[in-house]
């Protein structure tokens, strides 16, 4: 259904898909950040203001997010099951390189929810559909858990070096749900959907999570957050990158220093760069011995 092209990226483990270009029913091209959730692609309804409703009289509720499976999303006709219709033209990674393109015209599809209902009478399809439903329920649960976690942390008082219920739960959820959790966390932080102090605290703890499967996601969100509008978030990102001690971050911190307008933060970013380089030198010296 789709042809996945190899992404020539120099970011190890970087999430391959971050941005998508869509056309709506008028053929107007739109761009939005998307999250990759396992084999599912996800985007937010609020990113789609102005998108035509296919069924303008429904629904009676307002969905906040849409998750569709990857082949569905990258097919020529994308139905979400919600009254938002569009088609994905291509999906780009962090370096604006095409990561996924639809290659085959797929026959007109019925919305996912209808297909699931129909499939419920057929053996294999039923199993696949059940799996899909379970995946969606899990996704909904994890996303809700993370949203509540960040929301409840707004009133917490954060201190350097001190654990909180938020930090413990954040680390736990990332270890348990991996990329599924990181997709939502990255969305909340990079789109500025959460309190800046909470985001900063989250970045610092994300850097300390001992989990190889989410390493690229965590490195990415830290590097991306260096260009956050919030200086609090930029500082948290730099501190996290020092903790991760990855040479890849040097170019991002260097760029952040050049662009920083707050003198005190620029000074701290310079300090972060020195610390990071010292860590790498020490690791290199240890490795050479």
């Amino acid at each position: 259904m789709t042809e996945r092209t190899t992404v020539n990226t120099d970011i190890k483990g970087t999430p391959p898909m971050l941005k998508a270009f869509f056309t709506d029913e008028f053929g107007k091209t739109k761009e939005t950040e998307v999250g990759l959730v396992g084999n599912f692609i996800r985007w937010r309804v609020q990113d789609w203001l102005g998108t035509l409703s296919r069924f303008p009289t429904t629904p009676t509720y307002t969905p906040t997010a849409i998750t569709v499976d990857m082949p569905e999303a990258t097919s020529q006709d994308c139905y979400s099951g919600f009254p938002v219709v569009g088609k994905i033209l291509s999906i780009y990674d962090a370096h604006n390189m095409v990561a996924d393109v639809p290659t085959t015209k797929v026959p007109t599809r019925k919305p996912q929810v209808y297909r699931q209902a129909e499939a419920s009478t057929v053996g294999d399809d039923y199993e696949q559909s059940s799996s899909t439903i379970m995946q969606r329920e899990l996704t909904r649960y994890v996303l809700n858990t993370i949203d509540c976690l960040f929301e409840s942390a707004r009133e917490l008082y954060f201190e350097d070096g001190m654990e909180t219920d938020f930090s413990r739960e954040l680390v736990s959820v990332v270890k348990k749900y991996g990329k599924l959790a990181m997709g939502e966390i990255n969305y909340l932080i990079t789109c500025g959907k959460v309190d800046e102090e909470v985001a900063s605290e989250a970045l610092r703890w994300l850097a300390r999570v001992n989990d190889a499967s989410t390493y690229g996601w965590r490195l990415w969100v830290l590097e991306k957050s260096l260009s956050s509008k919030s200086p609090v978030v930029r500082d948290g990102a730099a501190l996290g990158l020092v903790s991760m001690a990855d040479a890849h971050a040097i170019q991002y911190i260097t760029k952040a220093i050049e662009q920083e307008t707050i003198a005190e933060l620029r000074y701290d970013l310079q300090g972060a760069l020195r610390e990071l380089e010292a860590c790498l030198d020490a690791a290199s010296a240890t490795g050479n011995n």
Partner: protein, 166 residues
Amino acid sequence: MPLLLRAIIKPRWYKLAWLEEGKAQANALWDLRTKENKLSFWHVNDDKSNLYQVAAAIAAGRDNPDKFDYALFDQGLLEKTGVRIEQTPGDSFHKEANEHWHRDTAELSAQNVAEVANIIMEHGTKDRIWEKEIVRLVKQEVSLGVIDVIPLKNSLKQKGLPNWLE
């Protein structure tokens, strides 16, 4: 004139473009949370000779090794506002710091707290000691016997310090 130190989170004290000169962000008040109308500080000699010992004393009480942000300002500036400063026992794991360097400001009004914020903002030094240096300082104080190692959190003891007790 001696100095007073307060642990802070530096970004809460950045001079943001919309702030009036010498005024602190409202978020800075998070770093000046009072208990029983008291605010706790640490005394630092005017030549800053005990600065790193005080930093180690505070950092040793944490759950994990981390950077240490602090504000340092002239004690006289606070005294001029009428705030009473008294020496009280500290509750860190650093014996010398507890005995000699802990200070409390009692009977503080909300106005006093705002004045402290503006003094720090206008006249104070805000700086950061990085995590690696903090770990080294704590270890140094432990080796000198002034910080008791037993109550320290394991995460702090184990952070790159296999020879902690040597």
